[in-house]
């Protein structure tokens, strides 16, 4: 635990990739396999379920530190991080613990679940008393399910590859599914992860359902004509759904999300059609809600209940029927195709789907299940100009923009560029100029600064003679400002606070920001009657007084535009 806490502190303290890599290498060189197994799990984004409810954790911590709850809450507001707050306020430790990470997790952290508050009070007290600042911080993060660390999975893989001298691609492949909640990390799995490759043993022998590491696209914002010869590129729509892989092996189907979550049971309609694929097939594509007969997908929000609800009811299935739009074939007849060029993989994917379709058409209607599995069509274009025109029509078609893939590209791992390129060329977001009206202190690197904002637009033109215009909140956003701007806005909030409602302050409505967002929908739950997706700050409009911010009418106009699609 000490070793992992030291690693966590080291990773947290630096922004330099090489320093992070060095810290990871140092850790994995020294850690016993059992501990290293859990370390990989956490570093790769694994999250055990929260073992103590947050409310109770706060109460017990405040009690232990001898603080009234209101003061604990004040402290928490200033810190912006629960585990850090707790680490700061605890009385000094009485001793130290030499227990390793695996023991801490397996015999202590996981064993806390479901215990009575009285037992928890005793246990947590004992645990906190055995750890220094860094250990308490880590432990509390693990207990509250809030463990996050600023390293990419790729960096963890590089560190492991360096420590054991195994090719990083091999490790990347073995690491797929590592954070899957079905298995607990243990020494045997770790040793398998870092073992020298044995040509006779495939990692699939242990778990035939594993997908491949996803290949990720790079964002593209410039003009497309800098990409050279259009003939070297494939264009497709960029679907706004959940990235997924269908794995069909040994008569069984697995549907994985990019976050390596197993979704098979959430999408029975996709699982049913995938069962018809030949064994040894892996497809990469997008899960998206699409009603039979519609010419475009449902907005992303329609997918929400399919992901979040515990049980997928008939009604949810009917409201948001899902389809899988396949755009890549990673394995066919049990053979890994990832080293084949994009054009070749696409041709074989098209062939496969056509064959499947032909087979099914015999006894199924055209709107039947085969439509659940479809090809992401290649968009023909002869010039970048023509493609740009097409890209601009994205919004009306219910897509996020275009994907551009090099015909020669191999299927890489993660965000690598060395295998050839996938570019995501998104449409410009919707925008509105809005007034900052409420602010709350942020978390993480924005902790204790007023950086979580609520923005409003006018309910009518403020210049119009009839009646007084009122600001209606329509979006919350925090990202998009530089550090210097954040500090400036923080100072503004403190200076112009009108009222305080708990942690929230209302401010003089003076600052105007351009807010960008991806989707817009009617929403009876919001005061403005409108809900927007992924709102963020595009820029500070220092040139605009509040009176020139946009109105609800502007947003309703965007809503109209969105509805026409």
């Amino acid at each position: 635990m000490k070793r992992f806490a030291a690693l966590y502190s080291a990773l947290d303290a630096t922004t330099s990739t090489s320093a992070k890599l060095a810290a990871l290498v140092e850790y994995f060189r020294a850690a016993p396999a059992r501990d290293a197994a859990w370390a990989v799990y956490f570093l790769a984004g694994g999250k055990p379920r929260q073992s103590v409810p947050t409310r109770l954790l706060r109460t017990l911590a405040a009690e232990r530190a001898g603080l009234p709850e209101w003061l604990f809450d004040e402290a928490y507001q200033a810190v912006g991080d629960l585990a850090e707050t707790i680490a700061h306020i605890m009385p000094d430790a009485l001793g130290t613990s030499d227990l390793g990470l695996a023991d801490w997790i397996e015999t202590r952290v996981l064993a806390l679940r479901g215990l009575s508050p009285e037992t928890l009070r005793v246990r947590l007290g004992e645990y906190w008393d055995q750890l220094d600042w860094g250990g308490r911080f880590l432990l509390t993060k693990l207990i509250s399910g809030g463990f996050r660390v600023g390293v990419s999975r790729q960096l963890v893989i590089r560190a492991l590859a360096e420590v054991v001298g195994v090719d990083h691609k091999k490790i990347a492949q073995r690491m797929v599914g590592w954070t899957d909640a079905r298995h607990m990390p243990d020494a045997a799995r770790y040793l398998q992860l870092v073992a020298a490759p044995d040509p006779n043993v495939s990692h699939l022998d242990h778990d035939p359902g594993l997908p491949y590491p996803f290949f990720l696209a790079q964002p593209w914002q410039q003009s497309a004509d800098t990409l050279g010869d259009p003939a070297k590129w494939i264009a497709e729509w960029k679907w706004d759904g959940i990235r997924g892989q269908i794995v069909k092996r040994g008569g069984q189907v697995w549907l994985w999300s990019r976050g390596e979550e197993l979704l098979t049971e959430r999408f029975p309609e996709i699982a049913a059609i995938a069962a018809l694929l030949p064994d040894g097939t892996v497809l990469d594509g997008e899960i998206i809600a699409w009603r039979a007969g519609d010419d475009k997908p449902l907005p992303f929000a329609a997918m929400q209940p399919r992901i979040t609800r515990k049980t997928v009811t008939r009604k949810i299935l009917d409201d948001a029927p899902a389809v899988f739009i396949a755009y890549d074939l990673l394995e066919y007849e049990g053979i890994d195709l990832r080293e084949q060029p994009q054009s070749e993989r696409r041709a074989r994917l098209a062939e496969l789907l056509t064959a499947l379709r032909a087979e099914l058409l015999g006894d199924l209607l055209p709107t039947g299940p085969h439509a659940v599995l479809r090809l992401s069509h290649e968009l023909p274009f002869d010039s970048w100009g023509a493609l740009e025109t097409l890209q601009r029509s994205s919004r009306a078609r219910g897509v996020e923009g275009l994907m551009l893939k090099e015909r020669s590209a191999r299927y890489g791992t993660g965000r690598t560029r060395s295998s050839g390129l996938w570019l995501k060329w998104k449409v410009d977001p919707y925008t509105a100029d809005a007034v900052l009206i409420y602010a709350q202190r942020g978390h993480g690197r924005r902790a204790s600064l007023y950086t979580d904002f609520t923005f409003a637009v006018w309910d009518r033109n403020p210049a119009a003679p009839e009646g007084q215009a009122v600001l209606v909140p329509f979006a919350k956003a925090y990202s998009g400002l530089t550090d210097a701007e954040m500090r400036e806005v923080d100072a503004f909030v403190r200076k112009t606070t009108v009222e305080k409602f708990g942690p929230v302050r209302s401010v003089t409505p003076e600052l105007v920001f351009e807010i960008g967002f991806e989707g817009i929908q009617l929403s009876p739950r919001h005061k403005s009657g409108i809900a927007v997706r992924f709102p963020r700050i595009l820029r500070w409009r220092r040139d605009k007084p509040a009176s020139e911010a946009d109105t609800l009418g502007t947003l309703q106009g965007l809503l109209g535009e969105a509805a026409e699609r």
């Binding site: 402290a75 600064l449 100072a491």
Partner: protein, 342 residues
Amino acid sequence: MDLVIARPEGLYCPSGDFYIDPWRPVERAVITHAHADHARWGHRHYLATRDGAGVLRARLGGIDLQALPYGETVDVNGVRISLHPAGHVLGSTQVRIESRGEVWVASGDYKVEPDPTCAPFEAVRCDTFITESTFGLPIYRWQSGDEIMTEIDAWWRTNAELGRTSILFCYAFGKAQRILAGVDQAIGPIFCHGAIEPLNRAYRAAGVVLPETRAVPDGNAAEFKRALVLAPPSAQGSPWMKRFPVYSDAFASGWMRLRGARRRRALDRGFVLSDHADWPGLQLAIDASGAQRVIVTHGQVAPMVRWLEEKGLRAGAFETEYGDEELGADTAPDDSGKSASS
């Protein structure tokens, strides 16, 4: 009648007709210490400690200043004033005011921890204690200054071994000299930014022993490789940094206690070193004053007032313009112009 009240000009003693650390020009000002939010230009008469006279003059120039040794008493319009060490920076003081058997103490800024560059905090018994509360939340608990100096030395030593400059941002007045007095000068040469050198001179003139420091323009590339360079926070990201090709940077401040503040600054290290009392220090000072009434001036005012009320004291607040500078040292260096990516 209250011995001290808040006026738009600053904290005011009506019976003595003087102000304490006023932020607008007044006839007569008692100055607790020379930080810019407490010692402002433009008053007719100044009263401050003898220890602090040098730095005060270095900052404010030719002022009409009466310098009083710690512990000595002067009578101002029938009110007895004496000055008692606050342990914050060189010459910092608490102001004890006595009139008709009632005693009030205004703390200015203070810390209870030892600091080799200034007289140690002295608890003064009083009926009413006017206290700062810059770090008035239980999350602020400092390690000892010695431990932090050991950390700074270790960081500097590692950098020197790797041939990179150790640039340590710190407050030019007080913090810088405390660091100078605490680090191990055997590790390498020490350079100071132009904003810090005049204060070093004032400290030395007041008899504080500091190691040899040199102005940055006098150094050469070979020396910088092993050097510790002290600079004010505003130098971060400025063109001044260009003369150091390879460096590790750090910031010494109580605000570095919070990870968020550390990460926001995007520095290699944050050393938690403050010239203000931490939460236990504030409680200690308030307890030791024996005051039944406490008035909080700046920092975490509301939580401190509520906390003290719940402990059975009579607590209140004065609205002041103090504290901007301390915050400025961390949260709003509008002159540094650093962006998220740098």
